[in-house]
């Protein structure tokens, strides 16, 4: 059986999804014997710029450098698999994409020499072809293991695209929306987390992103009729808010957050630090 050459790289992200690989404590050594981890800066000093049989990509594209990098990486990878909400949907930082607001643009552009940053943080598939994706913020260890197993066996991984609700009910949890009035996005959200949040008596906030047939309009109407308090739009302005089914409502919420008024919190004397130093 093949010993695939695996690469793990990151774009803009928190490192949590690649850490999930190291969190497969029971399988890690076995994986090390069956896969060749040729590129994984967080875990090894060995480096390789390819070719890769499979390349796991974490994070969203948010700098010009990354935009070029991902195209080169794609060319050197037989299979490219995006892991996590940042790579598959843009992640929390994609909320800055409603950056036509003056304050956001000002925040990003004034000194391009110091910060290289694109106006938008976007998922990998907006730049290159993606062969498979693992959803989640962070990804689920079980799904990662299934992906690696399928890779090695040479079949397509079994990654269900059903709603969170099924697993929630299978586990015998009582619906936090119907019985608790919590604004749960489970019905619209792709499963994989094991219905985690309802299990902790709170509403699902869609960190695995929209499932196929996500009827945002219908649930949105219902929640708006059912509940008062913070608006419904903001529910969608989360870790997968840039995903097309959620994008419109997330955008409405972002315009309401009034970030234009954001105060600088760094003390005034911080700016002359450069001269202090040298």
């Amino acid at each position: 059986m093949a010993t695939p050459r695996v690469g793990v790289v990151k774009m803009a992200s928190c490192d949590g999804c690649q850490l999930t690989l190291l969190d497969l404590e029971d399988e890690l050594l076995a994986l090390g014997e069956r896969f060749e981890l040729v590129e994984f800066p967080e875990a090894t000093s060995r480096r390789s710029d390819g070719p890769y049989d499979v390349l796991l990509v974490e994070g969203s594209i948010s700098t010009p450098e990354q935009a070029e990098q991902i195209v080169e990486l794609r060319a050197r990878a037989k299979l490219l698999v995006t892991i996590g909400a940042c790579a598959t949907a843009g992640g929390i930082q994609a909320l800055r994409n409603w950056g036509d607001e003056p304050a956001w643009r000002a925040a990003v552009y004034p000194d391009a020499e110091l910060i290289e940053s694109l106006a938008h943080a976007t998922p990998i598939h907006e730049y290159v072809k993606v062969d498979a994706e693992l959803r989640g913020c962070p990804i689920d260890p079980g799904q990662l293991l299934e992906l690696l197993t399928a890779l090695r066996v040479g079949r397509r991984p079994q990654l269900p695209d059903e709603a969170v609700c099924l697993e929630c009910k299978r586990l015998g949890r009582v619906c936090v929306l119907v019985a608790g009035g919590a604004p749960c996005l489970g019905p619209l959200t792709q499963t994989g987390c094991g219905a985690l949040c309802p299990g902790y008596a709170r509403a699902c906030y869609a960190c695995f992103g929209p499932r196929e047939q996500a009827n945002v309009a219908s649930l949105g109407r219902w929640l708006e009729a059912e509940r008062s308090g913070p608006g419904v739009d903001r529910l969608f302005a989360g870790f997968t808010g840039w995903a097309p089914p959620f994008r419109e409502r997330a955008g409405r919420a972002m315009s309401g957050f009034g970030t234009a008024g954001a105060e600088a919190s760094v003390p005034a004397d911080g700016s002359d630090g450069v001269d202090d130093e040298r």
Binding site: E146, R155, Q213, S218, L219, R221
Partner: protein
């Protein structure tokens, strides 16, 4: 003490005595209890676990528990969970499959090991639901052994309803409010205690040992009145008369789209439904692909993957899926099992996140008209249901993207299959998949797979001697016997020739017993044609072979066009003719139309339908098409049987 059989009055403070009796013999008592502010069904250790002083407040999409201040135990009509949770668990280990170092494969089915249950507080509608599950899961040719074992060992203590929730419509469905059958004991709660009646010999033995006294006529009358009042408390009745036909006449109603605009396809209605029985079996394999661990879990017709086959999804739209669900509950269920699939418990109404009310949808889609007679449940095709080990003898490419596998079974029964049947094949590392048998050899099964993917590739790579698991032969075969003494026109498209080759084998073996035999074969290109090395022999045996391809290739001087061109100038009306058609659904539709026009009645034309088959024995629900499970009632159907389902979108 207590006169046998008669109703007994059990004082409220002695309810513990009943639980003690139920606990005897190490039974687990399962009943309603309040946990973290929610009503759940779970193990009860004592009376204190019961939802004393609570009642429910339900409306579409909303459920709340409210304190009553009283001491009543059974005021909560019903919650999210039904006994299904315990007699048909959401997740159930199926077994393991393993390939050893010596390349032998072994199966280990997980033996049923049911807890001995006492179900306490079961409502009339839930008793009816158990009866339906008995019919579906344990009343057919194939039985869910785990379910049967759990049911047989379970004691059922019913609680008569003295309240109705806003959604209840058991009276309409004829399942309540009165508890009639299926129980060992039935309790009716009065202010001071319970009127207890027995519904079975086991129940009578328990009643005899209860620390109660014979119930007074007044108490019995009061109990009956309280339950009867529930009937009146239920809302607008759902008109059941003729519902099946009314629904099936409305497959094109615009309301399906309208409800789909509200429906989330989140599957909650099917998860909370006490009768929904659809499941999927997922395998997890080890890193080396040598061990499969299979687990069966609840699935739903609202999921995208549910009706998906390699080529696409038969029910891509929410409207398709809602129609599938509603018509199954209230129409095709009747065809399959002779009963409705709904008991009026209102769970799908209360627990729908957006409050879709099935009663309203029924009234809007299929308004009451005339009564209709019930169709009988159709008999299941009889085929084996257990995995057997077979060994790969060899394989070869029929065409660039089609592979033929020669498998030698250890179990001779596997060779006794009939033309048109299929087998479920499983090997370590891969989920099992259905493959049609292209020949039943004297000592081997021959399978032909189109566009062989990783599973076949892996098997072929294993090489001769590789073992795989195989269930079957499954499904209803081609009616070869009906073609004896008649003319036979066989129409195959692409890979569709594979399941038809056994028919040709039968014809070759008894050529003189058939009349004219015509084989019309359409393929994508000349080099995509299957079994070309046998064509000459077929022709020599007097089988008229017409071939036509979509795209010619250099050197091809045969026909180019569509398979119907081989038929639409012919006349089959002169002698009784049987048609057998297999290919893509669109091709079969065109062919059936031409055959009808050329004199072969739909009742005499048979087609092999493709749907998402998973269990292969009519228990998992994936391959449902109208009143049929394609794997069990088909895959071969007469066009007459299918009626308007044939070629209908989204069924």
């Amino acid at each position: 003490m207590v006169t046998a059989g008669g109703p007994v009055f059990l004082p409220r403070e002695r309810l513990d005595a009943l639980l003690d009796l139920l606990h005897e013999g190490g039974r687990t008592i399962v009943g309603p209890t309040v946990r973290d502010g929610n009503l759940v069904l779970d193990e009860l250790t004592g009376v204190d676990d019961l939802p004393v002083g609570w009642r429910d407040e339900q409306s579409p999409g909303r459920f709340r528990l409210v304190p009553t201040g009283g001491s009543r135990v059974f005021d909560v009509v019903n919650g999210q969970m039904s006994p299904k949770q315990f007699v048909f668990p959401p997740k159930q280990p199926v077994g393991t499959m393993q390939r050893d170092a010596d390349r032998a494969v072994r199966f280990a089915a997980t033996p049923p090991d049911p807890p001995r249950l006492a179900l306490l507080g079961v409502r009339a509608c839930e008793l009816a639901a158990l009866a339906i599950q008995d019919r579906v899961l344990a009343g057919g040719t194939f039985v869910d052994e785990d379910y049967r074992a759990r049911r047989e060992s379970a004691l059922v203590v019913a609680a008569q309803c003295t309240r109705a929730s806003s959604g209840c419509f058991c009276a309409s469905m004829g399942t309540g409010p009165e508890v009639r059958s299926g129980h060992d004991l039935a309790l009716t709660e009065l202010d001071e205690g319970f009127v207890v009646t027995a519904g079975s010999p086991a129940g009578e033995r328990l009643v005899a040992r209860l620390p109660g006294r014979p119930a007074t006529p007044a108490e019995v009358a009061q109990a009956a009145a309280d339950v009867a009042a529930v009937r009146a408390a239920q809302g607008e009745p759902v008109v059941i008369e003729g519902l099946r036909d009314r629904l099936m006449d409305q497959l094109d109603s615009p309301r399906w789209q309208e409800v789909a605009d509200r429906c989330l396809a989140c599957a909650n209605c099917t998860m909370v439904c006490p009768t929904c029985f659809c499941t999927s079996t997922a395998i997890s394999s080890d890193l080396d692909g040598t061990v499969n661990v299979a687990e069966r879990q609840w699935d739903s017709c609202f999921n995208a993957g549910f009706a998906k086959v390699a080529g696409g999804n038969f029910r891509p739209e929410r409207s398709d899926r809602y129609r599938q669900w509603l018509t199954h509950k209230f129409a095709t269920w009747v065809d399959q099992f002779g009963m409705y699939g709904c008991v009026g418990c209102a769970r799908c109404i209360t627990w729908c996140p957006v409050g879709i009310d099935v009663r309203e949808e029924l009234a809007a889609i299929a308004p009451p008209t005339v009564p209709a007679e019930q169709m009988p449940a159709r008999p299941a095709a009889a085929t084996p249901g257990r995995f057997e080990v077979v060994t790969l003898r060899g394989s070869h490419h029929e065409t660039p993207d089609t592979t033929t596998l020669h498998l030698v079974p250890s179990e001779p029964a596997l060779l006794a299959g009939l033309p048109g049947q299929f087998v479920m094949v499983e090997q370590p590392g891969f989920p099992s998949l259905p493959i049609s048998v292209s020949r039943f050899g004297p000592d081997e099964l021959i399978l032909t797979v189109r566009a062989a993917g990783p599973a076949t590739a892996a098997l072929v790579a294993e090489g001769p001697g590789a073992q795989v698991g195989l269930r079957g032969p499954l499904g209803r075969p081609w009616p070869v016997e009906r073609a004896l003494g008649r003319d036979l026109v066989i129409v195959a498209g692409g890979i569709g020739l594979a399941p038809l080759r056994p028919v040709l084998d039968a014809v070759m073996a008894n050529r003189d017993r058939f009349g004219e035999v015509v084989l019309a074969y359409g393929a994508r290109t000349p080099s995509d044609r299957l079994f070309t090395d046998e064509h000459a022999a077929w022709q020599a045996a007097g089988i008229e072979l017409g071939q036509i391809v979509d795209r010619a290739e250099p050197g091809w001087d045969g026909r180019v066009g569509v398979v119907t061109h081989l038929l639409d100038r012919r006349d089959f009306s002169r002698r009784p003719t049987i048609g057998m058609v297999c290919g893509p659904e669109r091709m079969m539709q065109a062919t059936v139309a031409v055959l009808r026009e050329r004199g072969v009645a739909p009742e005499r034309v048979f087609v092999s339908m493709e749907r998402h088959m998973q269990c292969g024995i009519g228990l998992c629900g994936h391959c449902q098409m109208g009143p049929y499970f394609v794997c069990r009632d088909g895959p071969v159907f007469s066009v007459g049987e299918l009626g308007e389902l044939f070629g209908k979108e989204g069924v």
